[in-house]
Every structure is written in structure tokens, then in C-alpha cells.
């Protein structure tokens, strides 16, 4: 491995990591919102919305991100909708993640006994207030582990972004290997930068889980 080569590649990887992280975080933020909305619709059994949410969850979880990205990036322009690669990346990640996040939220919501909701309703809360003030805060303590696992999973999935020519980490590594045959250095940096992004997230996740576990909501 050539140190000189590694040093000269660093700025490229830094920019790529920044792009990965930025688009990844945006996609994850949207996926959390979508997931929460879908889980709420399913939990409250809102007639049409609940069925739509169920269908969406199945579709999003059972199609590869690559296909979703191709559809957005190459498919939409064919029907006259202009897109750019970054927006497609974020949208694709949000679409994929929304389904997974919805399931994570749902497992938490279902773990809370119905009697808690009834107790909130009997105090005059609306269905929404009961969900927001009483059920959801308790559900989160159950949902955090799968939510954190999804965050890590989605950050890893960003490696597919290179397929729509976003200059993310994967793209940069492939590019450098193609141009200079510097396979060892390029792959080393690729792994190092992914670890740099994912390890802190993973550690933060376990710390959060520990805190929630020791907060011990037991009745």
C-alpha cells in the first residue's frame, strides 16, 4: 500500500463521505417521517390510509433499492418528470426506509397494551392525543433497537447511489480503481470511511438502547 497514494486520495474520499452522509441523513429523516405516518395509520386502522400503508410497506420492503433508483432516475424522465441524481437518491432511500421504519414503529405500538390507550381516552383525550402523549412515548422504548438497526442498514444501502452516478464513496472507489488500478488503496479507504461513518452510529445506538433499558418502564 502506497501512503502517498492514500494521502492524495483523501480529499476525494472526504467529499464522497460527506455526500453519502448528507444524502443518507436526509433520506433517513424522511424515512422516519414516512414510517411514523404509516405506522400511525395502521395502528389507528384509518380505513383507506391503513390499506395503502400496508401495500406501500410490502412494496418498499420487497424491491431492491437499485431498482427503485433506476425507476426514479431513468423511468421518471420518460414520462416527462425531470429529476436529478441527488433527489433520486434521497427519495429512493426514503421510499425503501419508510417501509422498514414503519414496521419498527409498529412493533413498538403493538407492544403497548390497549388498556393504556383506553385509560388516555377515558381522560377525554382524542385518539391522536392518546397516541401522541401516551402510546407513542412508550412504544419508542421498544422501537429504538430496530430503528437504529434500520439507520445502519440504510447508511449501508447508500452504496447503491453510485449506480445513478452520484459521487459517493462507492463511486469514488470504483472510479479510482478504473483510472489508476490502485485497487488496494482504494478499497482500504472505502472500508475505512464506511467504518468512520457507521461505527459512531452503531455505538450511539447501543448507548441509547442501554439508557432506555435502564429507564425500565415496567408497570
Amino acid at each position: 500500500m502506497d501512503r502517498q497514494v492514500i494521502l492524495s486520495y483523501l480529499p476525494l474520499y472526504r467529499d464522497a463521505a460527506w455526500l453519502t452522509l448528507r444524502l443518507g441523513c436526509m433520506g433517513i429523516a424522511f424515512s422516519l417521517l414516512i414510517g411514523l405516518a404509516c405506522a400511525a395509520a395502521r395502528y389507528r386502522k384509518t380505513p383507506i390510509l391503513s390499506a395503502l400503508a400496508a401495500a406501500y410497506i410490502e412494496v418498499s420492503r420487497n424491491t431492491p433499492l437499485l431498482i427503485q433508483l433506476f425507476f426514479l432516475y431513468y423511468g421518471l424522465p420518460k414520462i416527462g418528470i425531470r429529476t436529478n441524481a441527488a433527489a433520486c437518491g434521497v427519495a429512493g432511500l426514503a421510499f425503501l426506509g419508510g417501509g422498514y421504519m414503519a414496521e419498527a414503529f409498529r412493533s413498538g405500538l403493538e407492544a403497548i397494551p390497549l388498556s393504556q390507550k383506553e385509560s388516555a381516552l377515558s381522560l377525554g383525550m382524542t385518539e391522536f392525543q392518546a397516541l401522541w402523549h401516551v402510546v407513542l412515548p412508550q412504544a419508542l422504548s421498544v422501537s429504538v433497537p430496530p430503528l437504529m438497526a434500520n439507520v445502519v442498514f440504510l447508511l449501508k444501502e447508500t452504496s447503491v447511489f453510485s449506480a445513478v452516478s452520484l459521487m459517493d464513496l462507492m463511486f469514488t472507489a470504483k472510479d479510482l480503481i478504473g483510472l489508476y488500478y490502485s485497487t488496494t488503496e482504494s478499497l482500504f479507504l472505502l472500508v475505512a470511511f464506511y467504518l468512520l461513518i457507521l461505527l459512531p452510529v452503531s455505538v450511539a445506538g447501543s448507548l441509547l438502547e442501554r439508557r432506555l433499558r435502564y429507564a425500565g418502564f415496567g408497570v
Partner: protein
């Protein structure tokens, strides 16, 4: 002249084929304490849940102060604010401390000022002897303490009527008294209450009127002394006998183990 607060008219409740409440009618005056008793599974809990519209009903109507309580009504949350309910298993919110449990709904639902609600909550807590427990979480409290917090939580909404569903049934015997004393004090204050209980002595002491429920019907409706001293129906007599029999049995066992 007292005013009629609650009216249940021809209430029918079915679970599938099983008719649990069969055209039940009764009225509750303001300030009255109504005790509902009956064998296990006769529909006492179901009746209270229907009054709070936690269960859909298949016939009849329930009126609070002339307004129909229906699950379709837009005004349902407003009506529920006027009826407090205390459950057998407390149903405190485990993620909130006692004070937040009590003040959540007055602040978020009734939009009252936090400072004012906290003050009221504290004085209510003091009355049930739990002022020093305001910042404890439910998991740090005993069953009797949790149930008293749950009662204060219902009271802090300033409801016109209170529903109690076997609020001492999950408690260890030595904690039953502290909860029943709170209920007796509320009755003395002239609160309107519907109490479901298996504590017969307490029922007799607290009731203005007793409803005996069996087979989906109100079998007897009487003043407490009349009901407990001279029940009219064979079913009520049989039901009350089960309690005296238990007593005799306990005494015997106590004698042997000595």
C-alpha cells in the same frame, strides 16, 4: 331537588352471539353513590365501559345530563372529560411520574394553566396522603399508592361523575383499606359515583343505592340495608350467601393452623 345526571335506557350489549347486557335501564342522580354488584362475568365491567363509550353498544342509549354518549359523536372526548374512570389495574402511564400522570390531561386536553393544575394536583395528593410521592414513577409505588394516584388523576379533570371498576381487586389486603377510605371520603363530599366492587361491607357502607346484576339484567335495585338484610330475589340471596360461606371457611382454616 337533585338533578338527574346519568340515564341508561334499554342498553343492549352483545359480544357476537353472547348478550351480556339485555335492555338495562337505570338513572343516577347528582351526588348519588350507586354500587353495582353481581357474580363474576355478569357484565359489570362491560356496563362501565359502555358508559364511557369504550365499547360499542347494540341498542338503547346513554345520556349524560341529557346529551347522548355515542361512539360516533364528535363531542365524545368532551363528554368523556366529564366522566372520570378508575380501572382495576390502575393504568397509570409508566413513562410519566405521578404528578405528570395527573396533570397531563388537564393541561393538554382542558388547556388549563400548568401552575394552576399543579397546585390542584398537589392539594389532591395531599388529601390522599401522597404529596411526598409526586415525583415518583409508577414502578416505584405500591399498588395502593398507584390506585390512589389514579383516583387523583381522574379527580383533577373535575369530572361530574366517577366510575370505579373493582379498584381494590388487584391489591394486597392491607392496601385495600387505604383506597376504600378515599372512596368513602368522596362519597361524603357528595360526588356522583358508580362503583363496581366485591367488597360487600364497603358496598353497604358507601352505597346510596345498590344494583344487583345477573344474567344481563338488573335483578334487584334497592337501598343498601334493604338489599343486604332482606334481598328479594333468590339469585341475590344465593350470591350473598357465597360471601358468608367464604367467611366461615376462612375461620375454620385459621383455627386449624393455629
Amino acid at each position: 331537588m337533585s338533578r338527574e345526571l346519568l340515564a341508561v335506557e334499554n342498553l343492549v350489549k352483545r359480544y357476537g352471539e353472547n348478550t351480556v347486557l339485555d335492555k338495562i335501564s337505570f338513572r343516577v342522580q347528582e351526588g348519588e353513590t350507586l354500587v353495582i354488584i353481581g357474580p363474576s362475568g355478569c357484565g359489570k365491567s362491560t356496563l362501565l365501559r359502555c358508559i364511557n363509550a369504550l365499547e360499542p353498544i347494540q341498542g338503547g342509549r346513554i345520556l349524560l345530563d341529557g346529551q347522548e354518549i355515542s361512539r360516533d359523536a364528535k363531542s365524545l372526548p368532551k363528554l368523556r372529560q366529564r366522566i372520570g374512570m378508575v380501572f382495576q389495574n390502575y393504568e397509570l402511564f409508566p413513562h410519566l411520574n405521578a404528578l405528570d400522570n395527573i396533570t397531563l390531561a388537564p393541561i393538554k386536553v382542558q388547556k388549563r394553566k400548568r401552575a394552576e393544575v399543579v397546585e390542584e394536583a398537589m392539594s389532591l395528593l395531599e388529601r390522599v396522603g401522597l404529596k411526598d410521592r409526586a415525583y415518583d414513577f409508577p414502578r416505584q409505588l405500591s399498588g395502593g399508592q398507584k390506585q390512589r394516584i389514579a383516583i387523583v388523576r381522574a379527580l383533577c379533570m373535575r369530572p361530574e361523575a366517577l366510575l370505579f371498576d373493582e379498584v381494590t381487586a388487584s391489591l394486597d389486603p392491607e392496601m385495600v383499606r387505604e383506597v376504600l377510605d378515599v372512596l368513602l371520603a368522596l362519597a361524603e363530599q357528595g360526588r356522583t359515583m358508580l362503583i363496581v366492587t366485591h367488597e360487600m361491607q364497603f358496598a353497604r357502607a358507601v352505597a346510596d343505592r345498590v344494583l344487583f346484576l345477573d344474567g344481563g339484567k338488573i335483578v334487584e335495585e334497592a337501598a343498601p340495608d334493604a338489599f343486604f338484610d332482606a334481598p328479594q330475589s333468590e339469585r341475590a340471596r344465593k350470591f350473598l350467601r357465597t360471601f358468608t360461606f367464604e367467611t366461615v371457611k376462612h375461620q375454620k382454616i385459621g383455627g386449624y393452623s393455629k
